[in-house]
Subunit: 647 residues, 2 copies
């Protein structure tokens, strides 16, 4: 990696002490992590590593279980780095030992393919998540090493990675396959960065390069299993029959994939791995491919909440501007994946567009994934809910109008746990020449600018307020560029350096104010980000949002809930001229800014049991009360609506 | 049946010569009937009756195939009565012979349970449509006898009905089961009416009375199969776990079923059978139950098109006012079933509410089920379509934005064929005292009022125009009440008898003008039904229609199509004040009244690839062009929208 390139300031060098995230991070640590361990234990995911399951016994291991435990370990590792916890550490150590004990003599490590279907090892890369599980274990291993200084799992996973490198490749006797669920690509880059071993980078490159080539590996593999590859063309999860491997992001070689498509989480993980590889190798074509895919996501296929993947069927992207609200899937994991992708793009190119999307996803579609108390989770994150509207969808624990305690396919809960446990890592970047502030969060960070230590401290009530005071505290006076993000949602930012106004027209570039000078302890910045309530409209081709506005204040998208507004939210219309007020309510949902405004609501009387009548109902004034989208569903269950009708 | 009760004038005593239905009926006769025969033949449905299918051969008979052929026979029989056709008659005779040859020595008659799973006869009434298939064959048999004078199938089906009556009942050794898909109940009443044999009426009554009782037959039956009845509680097609038999309309005894629920077609067939039984037996409680269920349908669970059953999942009713448009299921068969139910309620009680709903379904949600040329069919009838929006739903041939040539589950095509072939039968009713006109259709009818022959002739351009001239031609001067429907959609009807105004305030009752006098040849009536374009709104609790209006003119609900309006229909808003004009366009869709009006449409420019921006787009004038909903999808594929945003 070029020494000039940005890298994130690790989360354990960042302190989060605000009113928005800090309580969530505490709940994640104190409630979610123990709870997820118990769920993993209760469901057999932990004990599965003992490799003593036998047919006929309960808790038959599933082929994606390894990844759930891996993500929990990663989350725990991140947490241990910021909040040492002997009890948690002991749990992690035990699980790691169990995992290590499950490693086979050849280095192979996977529960399902060791105890349930050992004869099927590497025979169904398309569907069975084998390399995906390996990837998550690698990420966990790197996190344990980098965040908690524990090498045990890293060594195990290097052995496994070496084994995988022996099995996969273009050499004689090697398999030219890759995983139907991308993940190992980005994980191998992490493993490379943690160990410096080039072979892991090469293997990641191999998996990315092989993807989608003809003759298609998944065809060959299916034939080797005695299956007709045509079969999958008839159950292609929403893909055209001539693109059966689109859900797997393997319909085309990656550089010919120009549109965000297929399974949204797989897409985000693949694009993140591609961005990592582009950064490591300097491959301009790969970087351009990433930018193309990025544009496809953010200009056509992303909810205003940062959710991606609108279709439940196949958990996938559909087509441009197809963003239904009530039927939005917008999996929590996919929004998390978008954060991963955005963060990588941002390190490669300091452009506020990436940070804006990262912030949009974090504050809305990711934060909505877990309850305030850390106990319940959304898998799907719709933008409109009318209980019991879910009768229209096959009943599934994934798609529910209330957060659930756990899921059969439990990818989201540990994913959000690891995201929150490492949240601070998204706020700053560093390079020998630059210090960047991407997110405004009360707290501080200890940066290392090519050896020079610089501490940044933020005093702010963001996202409830837009004033940010930043204290710059280098160990010694140091020349570097401090890049402060000017959020895209802010129309009129203002900046002062040591009390003197800064001409943003001169220093602002691509969404950041670039301040180059020799910084000394005591330098301070005051950033003002006025955050009036804004009405947002969607592109006219987003049919679901026609005639509607979303309310946004700062980075937060708002919604109406039945709690506070009564049922029948869709019968509320907000006049274009209506004033909107924002007020912090400390008793509401742990403290939040509420948006109120004078709307109108149809008079529901006089129907006498009729279902249809000649139009002409009257409307009456109604005061709406909107809360941040990420907080919905923390009160009594009921309706929810993001896009409000405009009149 | 009481001699005073109304009964429909049989379709073969009615002539249809209008511009709306007559071409459809001709297409049904000339195109649809031969085409459906070929489909039945191509797919093996005809040859299956040879009982020579063997495992490993193609076209494995499905347990609902018998019903598809039966409905085709019924349709052909209806057609032969009005339009003799030697070729069609020969086809029907051949199929009937095949069916007769398949009857088992004991009278049993079902392809699937004879050649595929003979050991499973009567073991899974819940799922396997065994009695349902019998019912459709009975209906076909009655139609062949009454419409075409052919007794062969009637005799076969009487033998089968006798066998069923021997198997089912409360006697020792008899089964107390009933079908998971109601149909045989109404069919047995038809068989009773055709033969006068009381045992068929009794058997229908038995099936209705046993339904939903505890201990539950479907539980016992499942246990007898060695299954755990709890299983179905976990896959209950959208029903609560404690109502696993709601999809089968067997969750409660019928008199305790107060809400329209479960599978919509099954519901309509059950309610129709209940209404038949109430009429035949004079059972007031059963009649009251029918009225309750009717109210549940029409006051809470019916689309403005007369479609019912809003959820694809389970093809079912959901809850009150849950009527999504894009995701509407509204199966063609269910709208047809609603016509059956409405017609029966109307005979029992001459109330315009029943006729209004019957007309609404016929002109909208039923007529939409088949293309103008009679070649293609809708199974689901959504009220809004954005191709390719169907990526959000598991791909199925049922749910498509274009009419299909056939379906794996091919219930709808022959159902609409039999409805159209007998369409005239819905227009008039007769009793010794009354002649009723329910539908205004150019043509005539030959009534039999307790022996007195009366011919009615209609001269009208309905539904394109609202003037109707009716000539009354009794064979001899006859005293009777002529009841003319005053459609609920019409605000200001006017009536003249022999040129003199009739005071409707005096003669109108429950949606009909009752004219009692001695009628003589030469008497004539002029009915004026002004049909301005009306804006319709839905109850505020219909969340999908909030802020929207549907356009209706006469009985026809209108829609916007992409053809004629361009894409992005949801971005059109119709001001409350906009004038709406109606004009017949003879070149459009076989000739139709088009509705135009001045709306506004968002200016789609200036987005520069963005997906969201601060609200404030301008709108520009746009002239909408709406066509009858039933005609949509007959031009190039594209968007469609019934409920138009109002501004």
């Amino acid at each position: 990696m070029s020494a000039m390139k940005l890298s994130p300031v690790p989360h354990h060098r960042v302190q989060v002490a605000d009113r928005f995230w800090a309580p969530r991070l505490a709940a994640n640590r104190k409630v979610t992590l123990p709870l997820e361990y118990r769920q993993c234990q209760r469901t057999g995911r932990i004990d599965a590593w003992r490799l003593d399951w036998q047919e006929g016994r309960p808790n038959k291991p599933h082929y994606f279980w390894d990844s759930d435990v891996a993500k929990w370990i990663e989350a725990a590792a991140f947490s241990l780095a910021t909040h040492p916890d002997k009890k948690l550490e002991a749990l992690v150590d035990d699980v790691v030992e169990l995992i290590a004990s499950a490693q086979q003599p050849d280095g192979y490590l996977n529960v399902y393919f060791t105890v349930v279907a050992p004869e099927e090892r590497w025979t169904n890369l398309r569907d069975r998540h084998e390399l995906y599980c390996a990837g998550h274990l690698m990420e966990a291993a790197v996190a344990l090493w980098q965040s908690a200084g524990k090498r045990r799992l890293l060594e195990v996973m290097c052995r496994y990675a070496d084994h995988i490198g022996w099995v996969f490749g273009r050499g004689p006797g090697q398999r030219r396959g890759y995983c139907g669920h991308p993940e190992i690509e980005l994980a191998l880059v992490k493993l490379y960065r943690a160990t410096g071993r080039q072979q892991y980078l090469k293997l990641a490159r191999h998996f990315v390069d092989e993807r989608g080539r003809q003759p298609h590996y998944f065809d060959r593999e299916a034939r080797a299993r005695g299956e007709d590859p045509e079969q999958i063309r008839r159950r292609s999860l929403g893909s055209p029959a001539d693109r059966p491997y689109e859900p797997h992001l393997a319909h085309l070689p990656v550089l010919r994939q120009h549109e965000a498509t297929g399974h949204a989480v797989r897409a985000m993980y693949l694009y993140s791995g591609m961005a990592d590889l582009a950064a490591e190798t300097g491959d301009a074509a790969l970087a351009a491919g990433c930018r193309r895919l990025w544009k496809s996501v953010v200009t056509g296929r992303m909810y205003v909440t940062g959710g991606v993947g609108s279709a439940e069927h196949g958990e996938r992207f559909t087509f441009d501007r197809d963003l239904p609200n009530e039927f939005a899937y917008a999996e929590t994991c996919a929004a998390i994946g978008l954060v991963f992708f955005a963060q990588r793009m941002l390190q490669a190119e300091l452009d506020g567009e990436y940070a804006d999307v990262m912030e949009r996803a974090l504050y809305n579609g990711v934060a909505s994934g877990v309850s305030l108390d850390g106990r319940r989770f959304f898998y799907a994150n719709p933008l409109a809910v009318w209980p019991p509207a879910y009768v229209h969808r096959p009943q599934s624990d994934h798609v529910q109008a209330r957060r659930q305690e756990w899921f059969g396919c439990a990818c989201c809960p540990p994913n959000i746990a690891r995201l929150l446990a490492s949240f601070g890592g998204y706020a700053y970047s560093q390079s020998p020449e630059r210090a960047c502030v991407h997110l405004y969060v009360r707290g501080g960070a200890d940066l290392d600018l090519g050896g020079a230590k610089v501490r940044l401290e933020q005093e702010t009530d963001y996202p409830w307020g837009g004033n940010v005071r930043i204290a710059v505290r280098p160990e010694a006076p140091t020349a570097f560029t401090l890049a402060l993000r000017l959020p895209g949602w802010c129309r009129a930012p203002g900046l002062r350096l040591n009390g003197r106004p800064v001409d943003l027209g001169r220093v602002a570039r691509k969404g950041y104010a670039h301040l180059r000078r020799t910084w000394s302890a005591g330098d301070s910045l005051e950033l003002r980000l006025p955050m009036p309530v804004e009405r947002v409209e969607a592109h006219p081709a987003v049919r679901a949002d026609c005639g509607r506005v979303a309310l946004q204040r700062g980075p937060l998208v708002y919604c109406l809930e039945e709690a506070g507004n009564g049922p029948g939210l869709n019968d509320i219309a907000l006049p274009r001229s209506a004033g909107l007020a924002a007020r912090f309510d400390r008793r509401l949902l742990g403290g939040a800014v509420v948006v109120t405004g004078q709307a109108r609501r149809r008079d529901p009387s006089g129907w006498g049991g009729r279902l249809y009548r000649r139009a002409g109902s009257r409307t009456r004034p109604f005061r709406i009360r909107a809360v941040p989208y990420c907080l919905w569903g923390n009160r009594r269950p009921g309706e929810m609506l993001v896009w409000i009708r405009e009149s």
